[in-house]
Symmetry: C2
C-alpha cells in the first residue's frame, strides 16, 4: 500500500543487464566450504562430502504468488528463497547454495531490485546458504523470480514422503493457519485501500503483526531438524507444508500407501488466528485456514511410535495424529469422535 | 504464425494443478543411476561419485526470450532445457537432472502444455538428463519457464572462465551467427504476417531451415567435450555462447585477467548466413550477427598452445585466435591486419 514513485530512485532502464547483475552480485560472497564456484561463471559448483545432492526450485509470479500492492519486494525475495530451501530441508538435507533468476519490468527502479535481493540475502544468511548465481533479465509482463536451492544430504538420513507406516506418529513443527489469515487480512485491507469496501475507514494492519509475519516472512524449522539429527531421530517421512495441512497429510499417505487419522483438537492453531476470525464475523474459519490455507512453511513429519516419550518432552513438535492402514483412509477426528474425510483440491 | 484456436483441445482451467502435474509427470522416468529421487517429493536427490555438483538455472519469459507467434512451444521447452544444460557443460561437467517450473495462463490448452514438455523431454533425452521435478502453476501474465540443470563434475576437469593464460588458443565448437539470422528472419516474416510490410506476399520460411534450426533448436557440443575428456585434453577456460562471440571473449578475458586476439577470417560463419544476408540487402551483417547476435549455444574455449597439432586434426574445433597480455586488450584482427577493439554492451 505504498507509493512507488519516489523521485530519487534510479530507473533500471538507465543501466544494462550486466551492470545490474554486477552490482547485485557484489552483495554475495560465498562462505560455505562446500561452495567451490559462486557467482561469475556458467554454473555453480559444490563439493558435498556426504555424497548426496538435494535440489529444489520455486518460481514466484506476480499476481499469483504475490500482489505487489501489499507484498514488499524484500519479502518476495525472502519467501521464495525460503520456499526452495524448505523443500531441500524436507528431505532432511541442508541447503548450501541458491541460484537466482529474476525478470523485472522497465518500470522498476534499481532500489526495488536491491530490496528484492536484500530479502534473498536475509534468507540465505538465516539458513546458511550461499547465493551462487544471479541472472537478471527484463520482463514485458510482471515480476518473475525463480530460486533453486541445492543442498547436501546423507543417504542414511534421507526422509522421503513415501516412508510412513502404520502406527507412526504424525507431527507438526509448529502452528498452522496463520499465514492464510495474514493473506486474508492483506486482501481485505487492499479492498479498503481501493475504496471497494469500508469507505468509512483507512487500511489498518496494526495489532496483526503475527499473522502478517507468518504470511510475508515465514520461518523454517531448521534448528528443530538439526536437533533431531543430532539425537539420531530420523523421520520416516516428511514434507514442507505449502498448500495446507490436508494436502500434506494426503501427499504422505498417498506416497506411503497408508491412511492417516488427525485429531482436530491436537492441531496447533495460534491464538491470533482465532482473534482475527472473531473480529471478522468468524471469517475465515481457523480450522479451514489450517487445513486448506497453505503457505505455513511448517514441516509435517512422521516418526515411529517408539519415539513418543522423548518427542513430547524434548522437542517443539506437536503430535496431531497417527498413520493407519490405507483401508481406513485419511480422516479428521472431531472432539466428539466423528470421522470426516480429509480433502484437498486435486488430491 | 499458427492459429491456436483448435476446437478439440482441452482447456487447462478444466483441470487442477495436481491433475496437470501428475499427467505431465508420467512422461518422465529417471534412467541415470545417480538419480535417487525424481518427481514426486519435495526435492530431487542425486548421488555423484565424482563428488562435484554443478548447477545452473535458466528462466525464459514470453515476449523477452520468445515470441509465441513464431516460437513453437516444443522448442521453447527444448531450448530452455538446452540452455541450462549447456551452462553445466561449460564447466566440463555432465548434466544429470532437470528441475522444471512453469507458469501458464488459463488461455492455454492441455495440448499446449504437452508440447512444452515434449520439447523438454527431447532435450533431456538427447543429453542424458532425467527430469526430476515438475511444478506447474498458473500465470496471470505471460508464459514463464524456469529450468535448473544439476550435473556431475570432477575437480580435475573443471573449466572455469578465469583459467586462460597468455598464448592459449581460442577455439569454437562450431559456427556462430546463424541463430541471430534465424531470429531476424522470424521477425521479418512476422511483420509480413501482421501486414506491416511486404503486403504483396505471404510469410515464407522455406529454404531457411538451417538458420531457423540454429535459433529454435540449437544443439550442444556434448560429444566434442566428451571426446576431449577421453583424450585428457582439459580446456583452460570455457563458456557457453548465449550473448554473442564478443561477449564470450570479453567474459573469459576479464575473468582471466588477459587480453585476446581474434582473427576475422578464422571465425566460422555458415554459408547460409551469407546467403540470407545477401538476399536481404546485406542485412544483418553476418560478422555482426556472429559477434553480437547471441543464442549460438556453441562452446568458446581456450587450450594450451601445445595442443595445436592434435586440435586441428582430430576434433571439430575452429581455432579463431589466441589469448594475449591484458595490456594488449581484446581485439579483432581484420584480413588486412587492422586491429579493432572487441565490444559488447555492458561489458
Amino acid at each position: 500500500m505504498s507509493d512507488k514513485k519516489e523521485p530519487l530512485k534510479t530507473p533500471i532502464r538507465d543501466l544494462g543487464k550486466y551492470v545490474l547483475t554486477d552490482r547485485i552480485s557484489t552483495r554475495f560472497t560465498s562462505s560455505n566450504e562446500a561452495t567451490l564456484q559462486g557467482i561469475g561463471d556458467d554454473a555453480s559448483v559444490a563439493c558435498f562430502h556426504e555424497a548426496l545432492t538435494v535440489s529444489a526450485q520455486k518460481m514466484s509470479l506476480e499476481g499469483v504468488d504475490f500482489d505487489l500492492s501489499y507484498f514488499p519486494l524484500k519479502f518476495i525475495g525472502y519467501k521464495t528463497a525460503v520456499h526452495a530451501m524448505g523443500q531441500v530441508m524436507a528431505m532432511n538435507a541442508v541447503p548450501v547454495q541458491l541460484l537466482v533468476c529474476t525478470g523485472v519490468s522497465q518500470r522498476f527502479f534499481l532500489e526495488d531490485l536491491d530490496e528484492l535481493f536484500v530479502g534473498i540475502e536475509a534468507a540465505a544468511r538465516l539458513y546458511g546458504a550461499d547465493v551462487t548465481a544471479v541472472d537478471i533479465q527484463s520482463s514485458y509482463t510482471g515480476l518473475s523470480l525463480a530460486v533453486t536451492a541445492v543442498g547436501e544430504g546423507n543417504a542414511g538420513l534421507m526422509t522421503r514422503r513415501g516412508g510412513a507406516s502404520d502406527t507412526d506418529l504424525i507431527c507438526l513443527s509448529g502452528s498452522v493457519g496463520a499465514a492464510y489469515m495474514g493473506l486474508h487480512l492483506l486482501q481485505r485491507e487492499k479492498r479498503i485501500f481501493n475504496g471497494e469496501t469500508g469507505k468509512d475507514r483507512l487500511p489498518d494492519l496494526k495489532g496483526h503483526e503475527y499473522i502478517l509475519e507468518q504470511y510475508l516472512k515465514p520461518g523454517l524449522p531448521g534448528v528443530l531438524l538439526e536437533n533431531l539429527r543430532k539425537d539420531d531421530i530420523i523421520p520416516t517421512s516428511m514434507c514442507l507444508l505449502t498448500n495446507g495441512l490436508s494436502h500434506g497429510i494426503l501427499s504422505i499417505a498417498k506416497a506411503s500407501g497408508t491412511g492417516a487419522k488427525i485429531y482436530v483438537n491436537k492441531i496447533p492453531i495460534a491464538r491470533e488466528c482465532f482473534e482475527y476470525a472473531e473480529a471478522n464475523n468468524n471469517e475465515p474459519s481457523p480450522l479451514v485456514a489450517a487445513l486448506n490455507g497453505g503457505d505455513d512453511f511448517q514441516m509435517l513429519l512422521t516418526l515411529p511410535l517408539a519415539n513418543y516419550e522423548s518427542l513430547s518432552k524434548e522437542y517443539s513438535l506437536d503430535i496431531i495424529g497417527h498413520i493407519c492402514d490405507a483401508s481406513d483412509g485419511c480422516t479428521l477426528i472431531t472432539p466428539d469422535g466423528k470421522s470426516i474425510p480429509l480433502e484437498s483440491p486435486g488430491m
